[in-house]
């Protein structure tokens, strides 16, 4: 069943689409979205940087948008020629004549490209996003936004300075399940919420460590490492295994945590609560290359209003699926499986009726598929010119701050007091030095 608000939103969208389409037909040259200026071509010209697992999902989405006449996929880039070749082939089958590149900087040089979709390993997100902003391109970047606090700050600054829209790929804020949960929680379905607990299965361990070895043919190891300090290639680093190394992936808390925390902050209406304490404890793997903790318990304490966020890995599984969240209120609790995207909301949230005078929550509602919807929301922010998509980079940065400080507390083995206004850890010089990680030249912010 669709809410009244949804109907209004969709009508408003269709109306604005017609108006914008008309405007585009009159405009003389240029392209849609560059610094909010509508151009002659009503298709956003898009490039994909990083076409591994999620990168291919993005490409598939974008080929559908291309069929709908909304974008043109013009370039595909990856540091691994094997992946690149597969992706351009897929794009060709899907109707796109995309030029392949190994080095994303060739993509940024192209004046005809309006926007980039970045789905590289996490240690690349900030550098590529900042560079794309600096060349005037809108950005859709995978979550987590960053691997350090200073990177996140630089991303926000770049988006604002260069007046582009940066959407972070934590799609739940445009997904129906999270939206239904959000409006139910904000409107008191369980009363005042004092605690939110997340459960998630453990990080894997590297049970078969191998010595360093030359990179596989076709992989540009120097480019894959990018901003990271130089080290020899190890098969256990990539492709998807970057996730289990603290420097490049940060484990479940920075991967799924970026989804779950984004949803939780949304439901708690807490994007403005940037100060908190964080204390993490974890069990490190006994061997192997991967250094993310197997188990991990992290407690965040927020003030004014007071509430606690708990990351439990594995934590206490309250719901039915592999990971999820529980909102504990005065009058009971509400479960949200996963992050509210790939799983539906709890029936109580689905059936929740907004009380008289209740607070409605907006979300873009163009596609049932929330991966598509999240990108549609990004396009909408460009088209409308407000440049603030649902998971604007500032929200993405705040979410990543939770993830990154959770890991930092674990690494340092101590509680941290985070001052969100000053963007620093109170009274801990070492922790503050670790808010940034100097980058290998020339892969710098």
């Amino acid at each position: 069943m669709m809410s009244h608000t949804h109907r209004i939103t969709r009508r408003s969208f269709l109306k604005s689409s017609v108006l914008v389409a008309g405007a585009l037909n009159l405009a003389p040259g240029g392209v849609l979205g560059r610094n909010s200026q509508a151009g002659a071509n009503d298709r956003l010209v898009v490039a994909h940087v990083g076409v591994g697992g999620m990168g291919m999902t993005h490409l598939t989405n974008m080929l559908r948008f291309q069929k709908e006449g909304k974008v043109r996929v013009a370039a595909i880039c990856d540091a691994d020629d094997n992946r690149l070749e597969a992706a351009v082939e897929n794009a060709s089958i899907g109707g796109a004549s995309a030029i392949p590149y190994r080095d994303y900087r060739y993509v940024l040089e192209r004046k005809d490209i309006d926007a980039v979709v970045i789905a590289t390993p996490d240690h690349w997100h900030a550098v590529q996003t900042v560079h794309a902003c600096e060349t005037g391109k809108h950005v859709y970047v995978e979550k987590p936004a960053s691997v350090t606090i200073r990177e996140g700050q630089a991303m926000v600054a770049a988006a604002r300075t260069h007046k582009v829209a940066v959407q972070v790929g934590a799609q739940a804020r445009t997904a129906k399940g999270a939206w239904q949960t959000c409006r139910a929680i904000r409107n008191g379905i369980v009363g005042k919420v004092g605690r939110v607990s997340c459960w998630h299965y453990a990080n894997p361990t590297d049970e078969k460590p191998v010595p360093d070895s030359p990179p596989p043919e076709g992989l540009d190891w120097d480019l894959w490492l990018g901003p990271l300090p130089w080290r020899p290639h190890n098969q256990r680093c990539q492709p998807g295994n970057f996730r289990w190394l603290m420097e490049s992936g940060g484990g479940q808390i920075r991967d799924r945590g970026a989804h779950q925390f984004s949803t939780v902050l949304w439901c708690m209406n807490a994007d403005h609560q940037t100060s908190f304490t964080v204390e993490a404890k974890g069990r490190a793997p006994a061997k192997g290359l991967w250094d993310c903790p197997i188990d991990m318990d992290v407690i965040y304490q927020f003030k004014n209003p007071n509430w606690t966020l708990e990351w439990g890995q594995p934590g206490i599984k309250v719901g039915q699926t592999e990971f999820g969240n529980v909102f504990w209120g005065d009058n009971g609790h509400l479960i949200l499986e996963w992050e509210g995207g790939y799983r539906p909301a709890n029936p109580e949230a689905v059936n929740f009726q907004l009380p008289p005078g209740g607070q409605e929550v907006y979300r873009t509602d163009e596609y049932e598929d929330f991966n598509m919807n999240h990108k549609a929301d990004w396009f909408k922010s460009i088209r409308d010119g407000h440049l603030r998509p649902a998971v604007d980079i500032e929200i993405g940065h705040r979410t990543a701050t939770l993830c990154n400080l959770g890991n930092l507390s674990y690494i340092l083995g101590r509680k941290l007091v985070w001052n969100g206004e000053k963007q620093e850890v109170a009274g801990d010089e070492q922790a503050n030095r670790l808010l940034s990680r100097p980058q290998r030249y020339p892969y710098v912010l």
């Binding site: 004549s97 900087r105 006994a286 083995g413 009274g427 070492q430 670790l434 100097p438 030249y441």
Partner: protein
């Protein structure tokens, strides 16, 4: 719960010979082929402090990559333990030991030590780190360490290196100096200069 082993160790170690014997025991446990022993051992290295620095650094140079890895992680535990607020004396002692490693250890150890000093190092660490800026293999790690190092001395060291560095390294040093708020003439950033060509070609349209 996770740190109970550390607390026991803290009580057990702490004085002279006991510390030395404790470190020998730590090293022996890290070298154990039994992962349930070695895995716990490196994680408990933090409170051993300065006495553990050189023994762990020696293990980091071992050919056995798993042993070297455990030792490196153990040494990071030390650095992060002494980096806590209120531990200035322990930190200074560890810093002193780390600095000595910069002049004589294998490159893979010196590289890690540079990063460790970037976390906890004081002005004492600046000149030893600066000395690495002329070592082609380690200079970028040293540059990064000094970029993070909060003292004015680190900026001075970067400036000094910039004046004499080979042309190809000047760009990186210029970037570090700009990050530290310094004005640098010439040597514009190369961060947006593409350099890597692919062999993949676009599929032929059918």
């Amino acid at each position: 719960m996770y740190f109970s082993a550390n607390n026991k160790l803290l009580r057990r170690i702490g004085h002279g010979r006991q510390v030395t014997a404790g470190v020998q025991g730590l090293v022996a446990r890290i070298k154990s082929p039994d992962e349930t022993i070695s895995g716990v051992a490196w994680q408990s290295a933090g409170p051993y402090g300065a006495a553990a620095v050189k023994p762990l650094a020696a293990l980091m140079a071992e050919d056995d990559f798993e042993l070297a890895r455990k030792a490196r992680r153990g040494l990071y535990k030390v650095v992060r333990h002494v980096g806590r607020p209120g531990a200035a004396k322990e930190r200074k002692a560890v810093e002193r030991e780390l600095i000595t490693l910069l002049s004589s250890s294998p490159p893979q150890v010196r590289r890690e030590v540079a990063w460790m000093l970037s976390e906890i190092g004081s002005t004492r660490a600046v000149m030893p780190l600066a000395a690495l800026l002329t070592d082609k293999e380690l200079r970028d790690d040293a540059r990064c360490a000094l970029t993070r190092h909060p003292t004015p001395g680190a900026v001075t060291a970067l400036k000094s290196a910039f004046a004499t560095a080979p042309e190809d390294f000047k760009y990186a040093l210029a970037d570090s100096l700009r990050q530290r708020g310094e004005k640098v003439e010439g040597y514009p950033s190369r961060k947006l200069v593409p350099a890597k060509q692919t062999s993949v070609t676009p599929p032929q349209r059918k």
